[in-house]
């Protein structure tokens, strides 16, 4: 894809569309069920709410086969290290849903043993409010993730924000590639992807 003809041309953008369509309709969740929210997560996967309609019915308990982590329940400090490790084992590209008040903010567990929000150590994409959230709310979060994927660049490069080749590995570590601003090694927040339709 180094040839400028292919970088943001017709072929790659159409291919992008197909890849994103396939990716967004076959998300495989890694159910990180930690507390009571996990029960609602089961309802979300079960026949009544039927997440198979959105292509995500294949829950994978192996991080190698999953690309969407649903953190359902409160995260203790001891568990945080395990969750982080599972997250690191998941293959790119990957997304996180923080399900419920506890995973998002610590919720009612305002005490020494519970991490006050799993975004202290995970890059959360969607927060779902509620205690527990209804399965519909989790479905909505899944649809938000799908929308995010469809608006993403996977093959074509986003020239509005700079070239991916200028990515500084030391700055972003082994994370998924981020867009880097033209003026140097500053990481551009993902909002820019949504503002420039």
């Amino acid at each position: 894809m180094a040839d400028p003809l292919f970088e943001e041309g017709f072929l790659t953008t159409r291919l992008d569309y197909v890849v994103n369509w396939a990716r967004s309709n076959s998300l495989m969740p890694m159910p990180m069920g930690l507390a009571c929210c996990a029960i609602e997560m089961m309802a979300f996967a079960g026949p009544k709410y039927d997440v198979a309609r959105f292509g995500s019915e294949a829950m994978r308990f192996s991080p190698r086969q999953a690309d969407l982590m649903i953190v359902a329940g409160w995260v203790s400090y001891k568990m945080a290290h395990t969750i982080r490790r599972i997250w690191d084992q998941m293959a790119d590209p990957k997304w996180v849903i923080s399900m419920g008040a506890c995973a998002s903010t610590g919720g009612m567990h305002r005490c020494y043993g519970v991490v006050q929000g799993c975004d202290n150590f995970l890059p959360v994409d969607v927060y779902v409010p509620g205690c527990p959230p209804r399965p519909e709310a989790v479905l909505h979060a899944l649809m938000d993730i799908q929308e995010k994927i469809r608006n993403d660049y996977s093959l074509a490069q986003d020239y509005t924000a700079g070239k991916i080749e200028t990515l500084d590995r030391a700055l972003v570590g082994a994370e998924r590639p981020r867009i880097v601003a033209p003026d140097g090694n500053r990481i551009v927040t993902p909002d820019i992807l949504y503002t420039q339709n």
Binding site: Y77, A80, R84, Y112, G113, V115, F121, V172
Partner: protein
């Protein structure tokens, strides 16, 4: 406008002749108290019956023997074991044991008190195997050391945690810098619980209103 008042739950003193309409004869066990008094004499430091439930207090050095005696008498099931911080000058901690006799339908509560100056007491794991994890939990939360327990490690908190969270002096929000969290990126340094560190230096639980002396 009505001024707001903070209401506390009144503290109930034990009423000796209280009647508990739900009490079952299974929990009123004077004969077990008599049996323990016969066997241990001064080792039994007291007993009380409140709302139809019998509690025996045993000196902490003899608690394992007392449980052994009860086990031989038919109380073969240790339903529960836990600790509490009475927050008093002497005999600060208390450990309770709820034992059941499943064949004859009897229940008894045994208690022992542990002073802050010596946090050791004999383990019940030699008598009841179910005491294993209960004692680990009490060790984790209060720092009481059960002598003779073969695997006394922390149960819920990380093993290198230095405090005992259910002691009354432990602040509810934790102590800044005591619990590590993974960093945002792989290979990044650990961060230390951002939440208590971001709050004010005085823990919130110390700022709460106190019970006025009554």
């Amino acid at each position: 406008m009505e001024s707001l008042k903070f209401h506390f739950t009144p503290v109930d003193a034990a009423r000796p002749n209280a009647v508990n309409p739900h009490a079952q004869p299974t929990t009123d066990r004077p004969e077990a108290v008599a049996m323990l008094r016969d066997a241990f004499g001064d080792g039994v430091t007291g007993d009380e019956t409140y709302a139809g439930e019998t509690t025996v207090f045993v000196a902490k050095g003899r608690i394992a023997e007392a449980l052994q005696r009860l086990h031989a008498d038919g109380y073969s099931y240790l339903a529960d074991l836990g600790g509490l911080d009475r927050f008093t000058e002497d005999d600060r901690y208390e450990v309770f044991y709820n034992v059941c006799d499943l064949h004859r339908g009897r229940r008894l509560r045994v208690k022992t008190r542990v002073d802050e100056s010596d946090l050791h007491l004999p383990s019940a794991t030699g008598v009841y195997r179910s005491a294993n994890w209960f004692e680990r939990e009490v060790f984790d939360m209060f720092g009481l050391v059960f002598d003779g327990h073969e695997d006394l490690r922390r149960m819920f908190m990380p093993e290198d945690f230095q405090y005992y969270p259910l002691r009354k002096e432990f602040p509810l929000l934790g102590i800044p810098g005591s619990l590590p969290l993974p960093g945002h990126l792989p290979g990044e340094d650990l961060s230390y619980d951002p939440f208590p560190a971001a709050s004010s230096p005085t823990p919130k639980s110390f700022q709460e209103p106190e019970v006025s002396g009554e």
